[in-house]
Symmetry: C2
Subunit: 343 residues, 2 copies
């Protein structure tokens, strides 16, 4: 099939970028100029700009053996948008820089961009720039996302107050459970040639391979005119994230084991793998759910909502992060979040 590969060199960098981005349509009138000049030009008058960036490296953040490129493109965008939502902002534009090794051909890049485009369409963001270069190693994806938010609606990590309710969306630990299944099956395949059986794992696999960001929560806050006192997205695991909020707010917390939402499939997979489901939820990471605090007065708004779970409350003791087990026993939370720099 080698001869059917299109030659990236023939297109050149500019040809390549315009080839990959030709189907992208500008969605925002505030995107004055997208790809095609030294820089993109955007109009953020009347609102604050938030900016966030993530770099994903092959072998560290993803394994191409079991990660479809289309999903990888989608996920690379989503993890950045999640950070924008975590500021209570609406993402508007992204830039995408990619370093590709010689082993990648245009068909592979097209798959990656198909996923990027899907995420842009799903979340209503414009791809406005980027850089494509070669690499002597694996695939590197660096995405920067911009979003807007009214000046008085920005939500930081440091505003949690005593007695505030600690809330989390969706459920936790599924992405980690999915990763364990993928790792197990790929090891079995490599070592023993056993074909992966992925049936019965669809939900946790999708959470790992093609996560979604919590746009719906930000829409709900807007609808209810609800302003959280603090917010963070769960990329490294619940423990690590709640400790960021507490540390930056100068407070402590109490979480309740029986309130932490874990999906049934996550629990089943965890048991199958001999892991405590709670460990997946506390330290798993890559959930991209939102963790936030609200004043007690907002109890009804958060309690009424089907995907918001109240999992604890903020306490005055800085540095004290407690988890109350179902048995009533109180243990200290430890952040053992997934940290690519250590891996």
């Amino acid at each position: 099939m080698e001869e059917m590969k299109k030659d990236i060199g023939d297109l050149g960098e500019f040809g390549l970028i315009s080839h990959l981005t030709k189907d992208l349509k500008i969605k925002h009138s505030t995107t004055i100029k997208g790809i095609g000049d030294d820089a993109a030009v955007l109009d953020y008058q009347g609102s604050e700009l938030v900016i966030t960036t993530d770099l994903l490296a092959e072998g560290v953040h993803f394994n191409l053996i079991y990660t479809p490129l289309r999903h990888l493109g989608y996920k690379s965008v989503v993890v950045n948008l999640s950070d924008v939502y975590a500021m209570n902002a609406i993402p508007k534009q992204i830039t995408v820089s990619i370093a590709i090794s010689k082993k990648h051909d245009i068909a592979m890049l097209e798959e990656l961009y198909a996923g990027i485009k899907l995420a842009c369409d799903r979340y209503g963001v414009d791809l406005v720039g980027g850089d494509t270069t070669s690499s002597f190693s694996g695939l590197i994806i660096s995405i920067t996302a911009l979003g807007s938010v009214a000046k008085d609606k920005v939500v930081y990590r440091n505003g949690a107050n005593e007695t505030d309710l600690i809330c989390v969306t969706g459920n936790l630990g599924a992405a980690y459970a999915g990763l364990q299944i993928l790792e197990r099956e790929s090891t079995l395949f490599e070592k023993e040639g056993v074909q992966p059986i992925l049936k019965d794992y669809e939900y946790v696999l999708e959470r790992q391979l093609k996560p979604e960001a919590r746009k719906d929560l930000i829409d709900y806050f807007e609808e209810k005119n609800l302003l959280p006192t603090s917010m963070i997205d769960i990329s490294d695991g619940l423990s690590s994230e709640i400790m960021h909020i507490c540390r930056q707010s100068g407070k402590g917390c109490e979480l309740y084991e029986d309130k932490i939402p874990v999906d049934e499939q996550t629990s089943k997979v965890a048991e199958e793998l001999g892991i405590n489901p709670l460990t997946c939820a506390l330290n798993g990471g890559e959930d991209y759910e939102l963790l936030f605090t609200v004043p007690l007065s907002e109890y009804k708004n958060v309690n009424d909502h089907p995907f918001i779970h109240i999992i604890g409350h903020i306490t005055p003791e800085k540095g004290k992060h407690s988890l109350i087990l179902e048995s009533g026993q109180e243990i200290e939370l430890k952040a053992q979040g997934w940290n690519p720099i250590l891996s």
Copy 2:
């Protein structure tokens, strides 16, 4: 010395980022929130935002054998700022994402950040975010720069008009000449153990290793209330860049060989290496000078200035890019710009 290396793993990602960025002070009141949350928050009310991004990969864009990390950090920032200036905008903030391999220790990252910090100070920009991760290969640096410009002052590539003067700042080809010297000396050292002799090459080496961006030109435009009709920064070589302007403006151009500014040291080095100095200027790349067009009515403003050179003019014939040699002969310009995707 191995035991003296600080352990990156001990610091963790958050510790590492705060360690590396602890000396950075916020310069702009519009930087509402820098590092330390899910995203940075910036205030761009009253002006347009420009955004640009570049990804630099070890072995493709830089060679650590002869590139001091401090210079590399400085240059990584400057190449992005140059794109912002090329929109006639003032850079305000950057984000820096880095992937490091196991062979890098904290001392090396500190050197890299020292250069990044120096560029931030020199150009008055705030470092507001980023990502640090491990890589299974070499060093990867991905920088995104943001800048602001009044709505009616944005300069694109597509506004050049017939008879407009084509101007360029500084001189061209020096960075390319410097690169050739570095490559020659490193090959000699590797193959024959000959110590590099870099005396007499200081200027071209500095242009390659520690280039500057043309902030001064944007200041001059502001002072003279001069608005170019088109502008681009020279990263791939004069030929390639003027053809971008012509293509996007639907025009042609005539350049004059004897007007193209080449420094004496560049010429000397080129001759020593058996390269035509003109080739360095036309196709060398990495000059980070600005190429722009102005109406004839601005002749005095551009001609008076010591570092602005009028090198030709825009013609009506789209697709015709001519170079008039000193002999009077007319030849067709060819873009043979340095293209990392092909290398």
